[in-house]
Subunit: 295 residues, 4 copies
């Protein structure tokens, strides 16, 4: 599917509308079909609201069917062939196609246990999660009752749909589906932004391998040229941000101990709000540093 | 050897004096023998100074012989049998008896390369070092010229001797051979020392496994009951100190995000002065923290 | 009266005991007289507890009489002549003998209003207060009912008595009547305690003139040789602590802007617990600083 | 004079050009006249550079004459009548029309001493200064030699001219004559920007009265809606920025001591670069705070 403008979607025939938005909800073009009747939409938010209303107003059986057509998370047997292109990309975004054996086993256990208890697959909006947070979410949801889990599943389906709408429909009033993770290094030894500091962001994992997901060098403002994470949800999870400060101060001929008291400084923190703006700055001298949750 | 008081060492016969202090310098009782003539000593520092003077005044050949009788670092073939009890304990203190294969290979390479170049073994005061810092020290010293290395070796031998004197001779004016590493947690959310925080100190290693060397729970003053390292040199090297702050704040019913923004906070720093007092405090709220090199 | 040891007070005749402690409670030697019967005391705390019990057990009329014999605060007409030496010294400690006209008027208003309402003078333990905090305390207590104010007055009388006991009786188990205010300057630009910083402590006043109450130069540990306030209660009130940091950094040839971004740094804070240990440190570079309530 | 666009100034007749820009340099329309020949200008910077070049290329006598036509600073006898409107406004901006007697005497002393020594008036770009910094600048310049002071005076005249060009000529490529002073309050107790904090900026004066020059309430981002100083140079001088934090925390029902440990927090700092961006943030809990020079 290619990106359409809201104007095009308002003007086109119903068939084209459904062709364009049929996969916003996994294997469920009926939602686009019913929403088409509410055209024209004054904005993307109205379009998305109309689709949400179709889901909300659907009979319980149809809602359950919507849930059931979703694929299992990290199901190797369906990779490539049987997933929609959207599902494939979303699951890959969180690294579900590169799981360690231990992680794969854990995900498999999740799916099986959940499906056995509720009769439908465990659904989560993968782009808002890390592998660790999905396992944590599962542990929280498995003890729930079926009614709660139907509600949770629909909520996650709407989150998935919102991100798909954001990718497919072009317009001014974007849905609030993107967060941002940024940093800033202030050299309080010289009273200036710290330029040229190597920064590295690692997604931490309890079960599998931690992986570096962003690298940057701070610019003249002590910031990175682009956010560490931006233009997408910031996945719920644990992160470590490291700053190579000793080489920075050494390059400025600041006297250091040998070995330097502080060298590569790690800040370890968690993200809990994927759509929020999280700013994690570093105030640093060769002998001290501070950080805080900024916005 | 058992601990003696300075009074005993001043009063005893020369043979007993040499028996007591003969191993202060590895396999070199002649140093104690010559120093015995300077008795009585008004203090431990005078005793140690007298022994240092014997080494200093010795003919070059005798100084070189002193160097040559020292064992190789981490020489597995000599473990137990051929090392003095003192050497054995000292090398074990830094974990030289528990090296990984990669570390053992690195140490072996050090010794061989150094010995081939200089004709005498690489000597370092192991109690003041970590495995990583020994390899770093070696890399710094290998390019030296022989005269410099004789001087470096003698300097290290005197450091070893000072620590042995400190262990063996009891008296008021202790040699300055001990450092201290301490911490303190200040809860700036409530304006009080943070009691009950789990603290863990890990010695970091590039080549081998990092290992936890101290665990403690902060007391009512936000301090540990005893220093993290005390009563001995603080080995040169890299360390990580972690503080379990989320569980502390959760126990006090302070509102936290889920997952908590800060959970286990790591402070990574290096020690460069084994005889110094290094204080690494943490000022912390659920949303911010700061640290600095204190004293 | 001169200082006595507890042993002397336990051993002496009743008359001497009363002569020694008769003024612990203003013009009320009967309290010492009755407490004498409980001798010997195992410690100063037991002695003070016995005197408190006499007050506690006294009939309401006698308690009221005890309150009524207290002088008015800052009553110029009674200065020197009609106050006990103890009252005089205590009132002077808080500067009640050096009030501005506005302050004198305010204190006069306090006393008159309070006495008119309750029929006895406003009593407060002056050594635990500043002029401002006394006026604030008065404003809080004036709306009370008589029963509460009798209780408040007795509580203040016991605080006054405890400080007098602490001055007059020598022994190991001192009463907990002393607080401490200390500071510490950490130069996080060089990673060392800041030695040679001029520190000044001012008691702030809303109504009268603020006055400098301590001056010091930090020593090699970045501390003052003696606490800013120690060996006595730290008066409740507002304070400003200033640190001359620009001249310190200039003397170390650290590059500064012209004029220096930070020159004399003020920390403004309040004391609420006169018997507590309050530590107000400064972490400072030429471009940044931090402080916190320590202990 | 009214604002003109660069296009208008490029297109108009020479007389109109001089009429528009004749007062850019005090009583010296010849500079505009000569600069007119370089038209058209591709931008405001080129226009200003052309005027600077006229001054630079002028014969020494003419440069001296340019200096001599400038009015005395703070000369009460010339107020209103004899100053150009520009001079009047500029001098008033720094409060030179509201001097205390002590300040007026100091300024008078400056002018007289300087004029006696050099034979021309002391010139400084008043919009870049506070009253205190002018007196400091004078003290620095009075010991100079005449050649240096001619150069200093011309430099100040160019700064005055740049600000007048910026006011009079409209265009895209503004001269870099504006600085900015901003703040930001981060509540590290709750991990959020502190909204609703009363902020007050005072210009400090050694000689005269300090005066409040900005008041604001922080918004949802913990910032002020407009910079504390913006759209003009930030005058060199000393400032105090206060933050009413106790009332903020009390309103959020955060437990505080009585009186609150921190109430109105003062940050005292100096501005040295009027065209720079100076950011002075506050990170604060009820028990701690930190600030730093940001940008």
């Amino acid at each position: 599917m290619t990106e359409k403008t809201l104007a095009e979607l308002n003007a086109c025939g119903k068939e084209d509308f459904v062709a364009a938005l049929g996969n916003i909800f996994e294997y469920s073009p009926w939602i686009a079909e019913e929403a088409a009747a509410s055209r024209p939409f004054s904005g993307i938010r109205q379009l998305f609201a109309a689709m949400c209303k179709v889901v909300e107003d659907a009979a319980p059986g149809r809602r359950l069917a919507l849930i059931k057509v979703h694929p299992d998370l990290a199901d190797k047997t369906k990779r490539g062939d049987l997933l929609t292109a959207e599902s494939n990309a979303e699951q890959n975004s969180v690294g579900l196609d590169r799981l360690s054996e231990a992680e794969y086993a854990a995900f498999d256990r999740v799916n099986t246990a959940y499906k056995e208890k509720f009769g439908f697959p465990y659904i989560v909006c993968a782009r808002r999660q890390t592998r660790d947070s999905i396992l944590r979410d599962f542990e929280r949801r498995l003890p729930s009752d079926p009614t709660t889990e139907v509600a949770n599943s629909i909520a996650e389906i709407l989150r998935i749909a919102a991100l798909r709408v954001d990718l497919l429909v072009d317009g001014d009033d974007r849905l609030r589906v993107h967060g941002r993770l940024s940093t800033h290094v202030l050299d309080t030894h010289s009273g200036r932004p710290a330029a040229g500091i190597a920064v590295e962001l690692t997604e931490l994992s309890d079960l599998g391998a931690s992986r570096v997901i962003a690298r940057a060098i701070t610019n003249q403002d002590g910031r990175t040229d682009v956010p560490l994470i931006g233009g997408r949800p910031v996945p719920i999870g644990r992160y470590e941000l490291t700053f190579s400060t000793a080489s920075y101060f050494a390059a400025k001929s600041v006297p250091l101990s040998d070995p330097p008291f502080l060298d590569v400084i790690p800040l370890r923190f968690s993200v809990s709000d994927p759509e929020g703006h999280l700013h994690v700055p570093l105030l640093v001298t060769p002998w001290s540093y501070a950080t805080y949750r900024g916005s």
